[in-house]
Point group: C2
Chain length 220, copies 2
Amino acid sequence: MPGKNITELHRKYLTNFGLEHIDPEGILIRDYKKGEYLCEQGSPLDELLIISGGRVKVFSMASNGKSLLFCYNDPGTILGEVELMTYAFASSSVCAVTDVQCIVIPHERYRDYLTSNIRFMNRISLTMAEIVAQNSINNSSNILYPFESRLCAYISMTSENNCFTAKLTELAEFFGTSYRHLLRTLETLCTKGVIEKTEKGYLIKDDLKLRTIGIKYYSR
Amino acid sequence: MPGKNITELHRKYLTNFGLEHIDPEGILIRDYKKGEYLCEQGSPLDELLIISGGRVKVFSMASNGKSLLFCYNDPGTILGEVELMTYAFASSSVCAVTDVQCIVIPHERYRDYLTSNIRFMNRISLTMAEIVAQNSINNSSNILYPFESRLCAYISMTSENNCFTAKLTELAEFFGTSYRHLLRTLETLCTKGVIEKTEKGYLIKDDLKLRTIGIKYYSR
DNA sequence: TGTGTGTTATGACATATGTCATACCCATAA
DNA sequence: TTATGGGTATGACATATGTCATAACACACA
């Protein structure tokens, strides 16, 4: 009996995309275990997924097996809207970092409904516009600024109580740099007196200098 | 008398975006001279521009004076659709590389009309989805591949009659690399037999190899 | 004729970043 | 207990790219 597991929470997320009146017969609630892939870059993605629980990471796989982390997504995020429009294969990979639950809306069955739903189209247009704007910043920053600048900006952005903590292997992946270079750059910042390494994490010693080296990067 | 200069050609472009019934009173036809800016990164962009003649380049400017070329756009391309949705400042700069003519549609006056026009929303959703997909390739490619790849892609794109000509100082600037490195990389490609330097420019000697080294890059 | 200005060109050196090998710590599964 | 895996850490070396000094050349212009 399709649609039977749809709860109030699921309805909330559907409503958020203008889909409160969608025919529930063809949509599913699907669970993914931690570590499972929701989609793989270059493979078909013929569903819309709205995350209703857990957390996923979005990243790009390189031909040498390495990957570049784009972002983490939490409940309320939509996936597959790009592929709904382009009919193309997935432009990035998505992997569950915790157990995940999704609302699943097959493209084919619902394409006409979705693309004629003005509230839905406005909603995904906003989402995609935000991605485009952020990507153009990221794209150019990666090329135009040294890593030290991007790192300082990131530290400014994400520190709490003047303390910066992060899983460094993951961070290196996110920046698309080598773990070795990340360590080296953190060392350099320590030498410059900008930050200081402690057991708890890196303490910010000179916030002004941090911001000076940093650039507007994650400013939205 | 607004709308008086709207020709059959302009109507064709408007129709292509589902805007054949738009109120012509508030839209303009505007000319830009070669070298003029259509918009500047970080400044307000409160209009939709549909290019009806000429060619523009889209790029990002960095605060350290460097810049990065994103793509060239020809007639039929729309600009300002991202800012229409996000209400944010321009996410990149756009400059006329020839004399350019645009159809100008002010955001404020037409926002309600545009965002309730399902054909228009589908059209810009497709455009933005394509940009997102391409950007995720670019993002990872920039990090995965050396400058040589981007250069090869550019040569493939812009050559005519198997001959590549460019003002090299300008080219380096828009790649966000140094002139020295551009020269070095061109030398390398000559050594590899991919291109050959002549008085007229660089001749493509091995198009297959050129495309192999290159990657999909400038295809917005 | 000389003088600037912009473009192309090349070598030497410096800096940024990647790759690889290795080691240590700690939690947890067998 | 041992084994295993993930995160952290460091040195040595290689490659990618930037910076700087310098020179040749073309062209405009006084």
